[in-house]
């Protein structure tokens, strides 16, 4: 048995290798990059038995077609529903299926959301650059030669975790999947430069409806809507740009800074979209409407902890699934079963078991 090797037949619109990002080098001007919907990405890795940071393919809107030229493994698609298929048959998102030599993985058309994660047992094995496999195309760093996939590329997978095969058939329970409601307002933590906006400017930002413009990519989403008024100049002495920062340059239109954002910049930041909603925004497309509401820092931290808890719960669920307690049917009672006497049929992994009982009177 060997690890899977994929050949890229159709690259898709923008398919890149991403992991949890290149942390530790922002002080030297190196952007973090990494998966745009971090929770969908991490849950996908857990499903296929990986460490949650293993590299996966971030698939944008129109997905790739890949053929398995060698080996076998398990895969799962999470995040946006882009019409995933294996050998032409629909495979629902959040579901682990096995793939082997000769299989063809493809995507038909987007049904909901914008970015999906194709996670594979063992992760995509590209060289680590500055401790990460994430692709940052602007500086041609990471991933496959620092660029998006192209036709004819070969992708190898890493060594899978020992119990990878047992992940087959595992489905992420609905309750653990992130909710990416396209109509939900984005929750914003005010600061660091909210004091450089007028009352009117703040009222516009938190009151008006904005539309995602065509300038929306992995670096940031520019919004169009009511201009946001500054107290004075829109420029500050350059400082750090955190993930989700809402920059407002002189033209007054907000730009939400995302995974590939530059590390520093000189525009005022009215607030920062909470991490959970950064992922939600990254699933929206140009033309989508966006509203901003305030959220206290404490509540935003709780949301992050909620997602961490969901990952923990999925790991426990995976452990139970792999330990073989999975295919237990509900017991079916025999016709004449009563509390004092009867039979029931139980199926475990398809094998039939008959359980019978009989109440025995107290022994005198």
């Amino acid at each position: 048995m060997t690890v899977p090797v994929f050949s890229v037949r159709v690259p898709g619109m923008l398919t890149t290798v991403q992991d949890s990002g290149r942390w530790g080098y922002q002080g030297k001007g190196m952007p973090v990059a990494g998966a745009m919907d971090m929770q969908a990405f991490a849950l996908g890795n857990i499903l296929v038995g990986n460490d949650e940071n293993a590299a996966a393919l971030e698939v944008t809107l129109m997905g790739p077609t890949l053929s398995v030229t060698e080996g076998e493994g398990v895969v799962a698609v999470t995040g946006a529903d882009l019409g995933f298929k294996v050998n032409g048959g629909d495979v629902p998102n959040w579901t682990v299926v096995s793939v082997k030599t000769g299989d063809v993985l493809s995507f038909t058309a987007p049904r909901s959301g914008c970015r999906a994660y194709l996670c594979v047992s063992g992760g995509i094995d590209v060289p680590r650059v500055m401790e990460s496999r994430s692709t940052y195309t602007r500086a041609k760093v990471g991933g496959l030669e620092g660029r998006a996939l192209k036709k004819g590329d070969t992708l190898r997978c890493g060594e899978p975790a020992p119990l990878w095969k047992r992940c087959e058939g595992l489905v992420c329970p609905e309750a653990l999947r992130p909710v990416r409601d396209p109509a939900a307002p984005l929750r914003v933590i005010p600061g660091p430069q909210d004091d450089l906006f007028t009352e009117k400017g703040l009222a516009s930002f938190y009151g008006a409806e904005y539309v995602v413009s065509n300038s929306a990519d992995r670096m940031g989403y520019r919004m169009d809507g009511e201009p946001i008024e500054h107290t004075g100049a829109a420029d500050i002495i350059s400082d750090a740009i955190p993930l989700g920062a809402v920059q407002v340059p002189g033209h007054g239109q907000p730009i939400v800074m995302l995974a590939d954002r530059q590390t520093t910049g000189g525009y005022t930041k009215i607030g920062v979209v909470c991490s959970v909603d950064v992922a939600s925004l990254s699933q929206r497309l140009p033309g989508a409407t966006v509203r901003f509401v305030k959220i206290p820092l404490k509540d935003a931290v709780e949301l992050v902890c909620g997602e961490a808890k969901a990952r923990e719960t999925l790991r426990e669920f995976r452990a139970a699934w792999r330990s073989g307690t999975r295919a237990v049917s509900a017991p079916v009672l025999s016709e004449h079963a009563s509390p004092s006497c009867g039979e029931a049929i139980l199926r475990v992994d398809g094998k039939k078991h008959v359980i019978s009982w009989e109440e025995i009177g107290e022994v005198e």
Partner: protein, 248 residues
């Protein structure tokens, strides 16, 4: 406007807090940023992810799911108020950047000479005579925001920026000088080029320069340029990094 008190902590989302020391481009303020950055990296608290030192503030990144956020805020507040936190003494670390001035690599040298009223030789002498302080890195990987260029070299930017400037270009833009770390568009006047790579993702470290270091340009000839370029291509070139007592 109400008077701001420094240092102050600014919330920058659920995974970042900024400690701001002032509102000016100033070496004293910047050295406090560097001191706190060193102290934070040394403390290595649980959930710590990254620091970004900039002109007048330090951003500290953390994972909110594994960090006690309140405790972090109060700890940073205390560390920021203690001016000597992590201070490494008054020594300067200087990185020597070899640079071939003029010719094909410095197409704007004549314009700079004309604007400043200096000969090209004098431009080189003055550009190499003053060490420049690296306030911060940002914009692109390995790009440094330098201060301290000889004021007599000030030359306005090009009216029409170039679409692509090769990596390693040494340039002047207004009062500032800098080195393009990757090929990118820009409007600064190109006066030379360094054969060393300011950014090489396949090298360890990918970026030699750090905020708080000094940059000393050294004029080289074509033969040395070729030598360094060859060593750089092989990944074996290491720049000279000097340590000197800070001048009073």
């Amino acid at each position: 406007m109400n008077e701001k008190k420094y240092p102050r902590l600014l919330t920058a989302g659920d995974g970042c807090v900024v400690v701001e020391f002032g509102d000016a481009i100033d070496m004293e303020i910047n050295s406090r940023v560097a001191s706190l950055a060193a102290a934070v990296r040394k403390a290595d608290f649980p959930g710590f992810l990254d620091t970004v030192p900039t002109y007048r503030s330090l951003a500290v990144y953390f994972n909110p799911a594994t960090t006690d956020v309140d405790a972090l805020y109060s700890k940073l507040g205390k560390m920021a108020s203690c001016p000597d936190a992590g201070k490494e003494g008054g020594r300067r670390r200087i990185i020597v950047v070899p640079s071939l001035y003029g010719g094909e690599f410095g197409p704007d040298m004549a314009d700079v000479a004309e604007h400043t009223g200096l000969t090209p030789e004098e431009v080189v002498t003055r550009h190499t005579a003053h060490d420049c302080y690296c306030y911060m890195l940002g914009f692109t990987p390995g790009y440094s925001y330098l201060g301290g260029m000889d004021p007599s070299l000030e030359t306005p930017r090009l009216k029409n920026p170039r679409e692509i400037i090769p990596a390693g270009s040494v340039a002047i833009g207004g009062k500032q000088t800098g080195i393009y770390s990757i090929a990118s568009p820009g409007g600064w006047r190109l006066i030379g080029r360094t054969p060393m790579k300011m950014f090489d993702p396949d090298r360890d470290p990918a970026i030699f320069l750090e905020a708080g270091m000094w940059v000393r340009f050294r004029a080289i000839g074509k033969a040395e340029f070729d030598e360094i370029e060859a060593a750089t291509a092989k990944g074996i070139y290491r720049p000279e990094i000097l340590e000197e007592e800070a001048k009073p």
